[in-house]
Symmetry: C2
Subunit: 165 residues, 2 copies
């Protein structure tokens, strides 16, 4: 096994949707806390019928506000205990699309952020150990025409909204 997962681009700069009301935000908050909440439980908390809540969720999906659901995993428990951010610098001629493509080709890369200014990209990677991290960084350096890297090794992390274990 490896780092599984299909691949997709997320577009930025979409226009904000005005027709999102307080109830929609309530639905989103409940689903952020637990993405597998039943419609019936949410309906009870919100004070709406089950069908109404389902329609809200369906609509939020159609609007593209909800892009999907996923499971939260403790990767350390799976043996992927090391997390790092690598800053990448490229020649001024490198198009953003190539930056993303070459980085996404590396299986251990979890996310790619293209940046205004210096560095040109910030890459979130997850690896088994430090030797593995070295290999990944080497692969990133060789992939595109990278002119420089700086890697920030994550010691600990905190995330808003992660459920209490």
């Amino acid at each position: 096994m490896g780092v599984p997962g299909s691949i997709c681009l997320r577009r930025k700069g979409a226009f904000s949707v005005p027709e999102i009301d307080e109830i929609d935000h309530h639905v989103l908050r409940l689903l952020r806390e637990d993405g597998r909440r039943t419609f019936s439980e949410m309906a009870e908390r919100i004070g709406l019928s089950v069908a109404a809540v389902k329609r809200r969720v369906d609509r939020l999906r159609e609007l593209g506000v909800i892009t999907g659901f996923s499971v939260q995993i403790d990767y350390a428990k799976l043996g992927w205990g090391i997390e790092a951010f690598t800053e990448l610098r490229y020649p001024g001629t490198t198009p953003v699309s190539e930056i993303i493509r070459t980085a996404a080709d590396v299986a251990e890369v979890q996310a790619v952020f293209t940046i205004a200014g210096d560095p040109d990209a910030l890459i979130h990677v997850r690896v088994r150990d430090l030797g593995h991290l070295q290999k990944v960084i080497d692969r990133l350096r060789r992939a595109g025409d990278v002119t420089g890297t700086k890697t920030l090794l994550v010691l600990g992390s905190w995330t808003r909204d992660a459920p209490v274990p």
Copy 2:
């Protein structure tokens, strides 16, 4: 409304769990693709009974491999179109716990990563606009005894495993 969400610490360096087999990884892969998949659908894909898949998921939760489920949201559509990473530097005397606490106090902070070396922390923030970003950075600077910041403005992002819209 603001950036909703409860708060919790994620511990790192947990020992890897050996008794995770291929079927468990298959379950995790299916749930990463769609966290609301039904047990029946997963059972069919894996070639197991519904009850067996449920017990796998229950066990993965008990082991702490699965820490929860959540919804994926396009925040730009909610009017939170700007994303940035801010590197924070602290005096050598500042304990990690205080770094996390002061950053997490700022509602716009989505995640805090403490770092080995320089900088001392990397903060992921999400804001409505650039003026808002400025305010958040100012608040971060004043919060702890921050000695320096550098903010990386995100132009675009790619995430492994985000579902295709």
